[in-house]
């Protein structure tokens, strides 16, 4: 009888955090959705910190990011190599300041760019419904909201271990994204000077001239 009681106690003990997490996650996600629903435009600067075994040292780069509802994006690195891409609907254009090359692409014909565009749009819109179909989401902290996402797709899980997302205090945008790869490499993005629903520059979605 004591053994049975002990077993039940242990089960409850270990089960309770999981139960607590899943019940906490639902209202948190609902709040995030509500906060992001009003976003029409978004602009931000970011710092990217890459720890890759292929490089001798960590790589620091600066960039900027623009989003306009429903499907316009600009992801641009300004240093050390001016490069990036813009996306309007399904068509995009990327550039490389080093080689001074520009190239058009379509998310329909370039599967890698298709996946990247889908991810960035999902984060900009805080499209949690889509993210829940792609990732198992765990709530790390509730204030500020920090989520850890484990890929469900086998292909993605082959090289990404998890993503850790930190939301801003007002929950309307991301503050940090950490991507940890299976082999231990990682990429940290820190967003700053985030402006929501402000007028974007006229050339926000134009390709730079070389």
């Amino acid at each position: 009888m004591r053994k049975k009681f002990l077993l039940t106690y242990l089960l409850l003990l270990f089960a309770s955090p999981c139960f607590a997490e899943s019940t906490e996650l639902v209202p948190v996600l609902a709040e995030l959705k509500q906060a992001a629903a009003e976003t029409e435009t978004l602009s931000s600067n970011f710092v990217q910190e890459k720890h890759l075994s292929i490089f001798a040292e960590k790589l620091l780069s600066n960039g900027r990011f623009f989003y306009q509802k429903p499907d316009r994006l600009r992801w641009e690195l300004l240093t050390p190599v001016a490069s990036g891409f813009v996306l309007q609907g399904k068509q995009g254009q990327r550039w490389n300041g080093l080689s001074r090359e520009q190239e058009r692409f379509s998310v329909e014909t370039d599967p890698i760019m298709g996946m990247i565009a889908q991810q960035l749009l999902a984060w900009a819109r805080v499209d949690l419904d889509w993210l829940q179909t792609r990732y198992r989401i765990e709530l790390q902290t509730a204030k500020p909201v920090s989520l850890r996402l484990y890929p469900l797709d086998e292909g993605e899980a082959g090289f990404i271990d998890y993503l850790q997302i930190l939301f801003a205090n007002d929950q309307r945008h991301l503050s940090e994204v950490l991507m940890v790869e299976v082999e231990g490499d990682s990429t940290l993005l820190r967003f700053s000077e985030v402006a929501i629903n402000t007028e974007l520059p006229a050339d926000a979605f134009a390709v730079p001239e070389f």
Binding site: Q48, K50, L52, S53, I54, F55, A56, E57, L59, S61, W75, L77, P80, V81, S83, G84, F85, R94, N96, G97, L98, S99, E108, T109, I112, M113, M115, I116, Q119, L120, F159, I160, M179, E181, D185, T187
Partner: protein, 792 residues
């Protein structure tokens, strides 16, 4: 001929036995029909044996898309490519697996497989001299620096996560050279891949390819297939159209057209024959004459089935129609015995009529016998079928029929006999008019006959509904000519020799700048000998350049911040010797289907196929350069059509000359005088001339069925000639003109009614016979008596 009269006398009181024999014949035929194996394939009308055309036809059947079901989906304006792809998947899963096997809407195997990485690993076996030259040009300091700068930029971008591994093992992007070889495996000219689907360049069309167990010639199975397709496509969203392009819709459309034609033609023929019956025969006894072709056909099927085992559906169908001509023998016997005059007894009349009937029958037999030498198995079957039927008809007409047609009619009163006098006796001046008119028609026909051409295109014989042609045209507009490529076969007893020959073909195509338009396994599946040679070249190449390249890569890598071990996987890869490329390896890359399409194996060995555009100037050049090499064969739809035309033309000339000689010999034996022989030939010559001239004037071309129809004109035309010349020579009046007139009119309503058919093959037979018989009958009835009046 006395034998016929003797037989008549002996059987005169044994009509019951004769009826019993006929009944027995029907019973045996009924049993035989239930056992009959009918082959419904157009192959019976294509040359067999060892002829070039027969070999080419067999090879053309092996083209990758020859037996595939192609489903073409198109999106209306305003529909996104994404929606089209979703609809494609929806339709693909809605197709029933028992009818549509292995449905494929994209190269899924390639996308999910390890192809891209493993193909790069096999570069030592794939890189030819040009590729090594291209690599050498990439090994300059500037090029290496540019590549690493590009690698850095890519790694900094979000997509860098997915590209990192690949950049470490291939920083200088040599794998592209191996990937480029894949483009030579694309059999669909205008394709691009989207979400793993075949999509046209403009993104408005997609494809589903499938196999099926339903034979292309199976109309019933084809209907089930089309019904299932129609049902599956019903659930497609608005604005998306799906069309099935394969041989099946054509087969079904042809079968339905023939059915509708036969109803129309049989109705018209039936009414025509009834009219003839009531106008000229008006006796229940005459019905036995109409039963004669039926019994002849029964015998013909029995003999042909025993001879060949399996009969072609075309032979039975066309043969049954051909045997309609046997009614002539019956009509001659009927009119001679019922309306003949000039002799006392029925035996004498039968003896008199048996001479032209037998000789007419023999000449028709001889005309059909020439088809025994045809290259086409269907025509050989038809020869046996027709000959058996004609022999049976002769026996039935001379031995059986006289016992069932009743007594001779009473002599007509003088006034009626006067009326029955030949028209020339009543109006002698008409003779010259008829002769002049005949000369004029013959001259005109001869002039127009020069325009007649021969067409061996099989599609010309089929009913091609506009909507199916438009569907095929739309497929071509979206995807290029995927179904009409010329095929180059490299054949050898063993795979290695076939692969070497295939490489030679590829090399020659390269010399002519045609590799970009060709589909071949050669770039991805070299022979083992070539693979070993390339491996040696590869190793030698890197022995010379490794140290320098390592230094350059290190220096540039340092400049962009790469660690010293960053490109370790690249150097490890260069040290390893990958596994040879063989069939198993290609299959592991997901190229199994392409391998099965382009590499064939049969009891004679291996055949590798190269697809090239079917353009005459290109084929001419290839013919000169390649097909002289042993083991290499070039076949194409366009060339096949020409070869078949040439074959039909040669066959036709042979038939006409052989039939001409046979008929001439028989006529000489019968008449033993040249003027009579020439007179007897007048109807057939006029009939053929008007037929050729009429076709030339109408812009029609000679096809496979017209060849057989010509033999029919020869057989009937000579019969008419023999009867009229015999009629002129004999004292007896056998009512031959009347018999010929009714026989000609029966043939015209029987065959000529086919001119009303929508199906081109039936229509052309009808028109040919209409032209030929319309000329042969008046020539026999009016022109022969104009040259040689009846002896009185």
């Amino acid at each position: 001929m006395k034998l016929v009269a003797d037989c008549y006398c002996r059987l005169q009181h044994r009509r019951g036995w004769l009826l019993l024999i006929l009944l027995l014949l029907l019973v045996v035929a009924g049993w035989s029909f239930s056992q009959l194996k009918v082959e419904e394939s157009i192959s019976a009308m294509l040359p067999d044996g060892d002829s070039q055309v027969a070999r080419d036809f067999q090879l053309l059947q092996r083209a990758p898309f020859a037996r595939k079901l192609v489903i073409h989906l198109t999106a209306a304006d305003g529909i996104e490519t994404d929606q089209l792809i979703t609809a494609t998947d929806q339709l693909r899963s809605a197709l029933p697996a028992e009818l549509f096997s292995n449905p494929l809407s994209g190269p899924e195997e390639l996308v999910t497989g390890q192809l891209f990485r493993q193909l790069g690993d096999s570069l030592p076996y794939l890189a030819d001299v040009d590729d090594l030259q291209a690599i050498d040009e990439q090994l300059t300091p500037a090029q290496i620096d540019a590549r690493l700068a590009e690698a850095l930029a890519q790694l900094l971008q979000p997509q860098g996560v997915a590209l990192k591994k690949q950049l470490r093992r291939d920083p200088l992007q040599f794998d592209c050279l191996a990937l480029q070889k894949l483009r030579h495996l694309n059999p669909i000219p205008g394709v691009r891949l989207e979400r793993g689907h075949f999509v046209s360049q403009d993104g408005r069309s997609s494809l589903i390819l499938a196999d099926t167990q339903v034979a292309i010639t199976d109309a019933v199975g084809g209907k089930a297939l089309l019904d299932a397709f129609t049902e599956a496509r019903q659930d497609l969203p608005a604005g998306i159209r799906a069309e099935l392009v394969s041989g099946h819709p054509y087969t079904l459309a042809n079968a339905q057209a023939i059915q509708a034609d036969m109803q129309r033609v049989l109705l018209v023929s039936g009414i025509g024959i009834l009219l003839l019956f009531f106008l000229f025969l008006r006796s229940l006894r005459a019905l036995s004459v109409y039963l004669l072709p039926l019994f002849s056909m029964v015998v013909a099927v029995l003999v042909a089935a025993a001879w060949f085992g399996t009969l072609s559906g075309i032979t039975i169908g066309f043969g049954a129609v051909l045997l309609g001509i046997t009614i002539d023998f019956g009509l001659h016997v009927y009119f001679a015995l019922r309306n003949g005059s000039g002799v006392e007894t029925r035996e004498q009349l039968l003896q008199a009529v048996s001479r032209p009937v037998l000789f007419g029958g023999f000449t028709t037999l001889a005309a059909f016998a020439v088809l025994l030498r045809s290259e086409l198995p269907g025509q050989r079957q038809l020869a046996i079928f027709a000959m058996a039927g004609i022999l049976a008809a002769l026996l039935l007409a001379l031995l059986f029929l006289p016992h069932f047609i009743g007594e001779r009619k009473e002599e007509s009163p003088l006034s009626r006999r006067q009326l029955r006098r030949h028209v020339y006796d009543r109006a002698p001046g008409l003779r010259l008019t008829v002769l002049l008119l005949w000369l004029l028609v013959a001259g005109l026909a001869g002039w127009q006959a020069q325009k007649l051409t021969i067409n061996g295109e099989l599609r010309q014989l089929s009913y091609l509904p506009t909507e199916l042609q438009q569907a095929e045209q739309r497929l071509g507009e979206s995807w290029g000519n995927m179904r009409g490529r010329a095929l180059l076969f490299a054949s050898a007893a063993d795979l290695e020799s076939a692969l070497r020959l295939n490489e030679l073909v590829w090399q020659r195509l390269g010399e002519q700048g045609l590799q970009d338009e060709a589909v071949s396994l050669a770039p991805l599946f070299p022979s083992q000998q070539t693979q070993q040679q390339r491996l040696q070249n590869w190793e030698g190449f890197w022995q010379q350049r490794r140290a320098t390249t390592q230094d350059l890569l290190q220096a540039s890598g340092q400049k962009y911040g790469f660690s010293p071990a960053a490109f370790g996987p690249f150097w490890t890869r260069l040290e390893q010797t990958p596994a040879n490329i063989d069939q198993q390896r290609l299959k592991s890359w997901g190229l199994g289907r392409m391998l099965d399409n382009l590499l064939l194996k049969d009891e004679q060995g291996y055949q590798l196929m190269t697809l090239v555009p079917d353009r005459p100037e290109l084929l001419g050049a290839l013919e000169e350069n390649l097909t002289r090499l042993p083991g290499i064969t070039l076949v194409s739809q366009s060339r096949f059509g020409k070869q078949l035309s040439a074959e039909i033309g040669a066959d036709f000339s042979r038939f006409i000359s052989s039939a001409g000689i046979a008929v001439l010999v028989l006529l000489l034996l019968l008449f033993r005088r040249l003027p009579e022989v020439l007179l007897a030939l007048l109807p057939v010559l006029t009939g053929l001339l008007v037929m050729f001239g009429g076709m030339g004037w109408l812009g029609l071309e000679m096809n496979l069925f017209n060849v057989v129809a010509s033999i029919l004109i020869i057989g009937l035309g000579v019969d008419y000639g023999i009867f009229m010349v015999c009629h002129g020579q004999q004292e007896e009046d056998l009512a031959s003109s009347r018999a010929i007139l009714i026989s000609g009119m029966t043939t015209l309503v029987g065959f000529g009614a086919l001119v009303l058919a929508k199906h081109p093959a039936l229509h052309s037979i009808g028109l040919t016979v209409l032209l030929g018989i319309s000329a042969a009958v008046p020539t026999a009835v009016l022109v022969i008596p104009a040259f040689r009046p009846k002896r009185r």
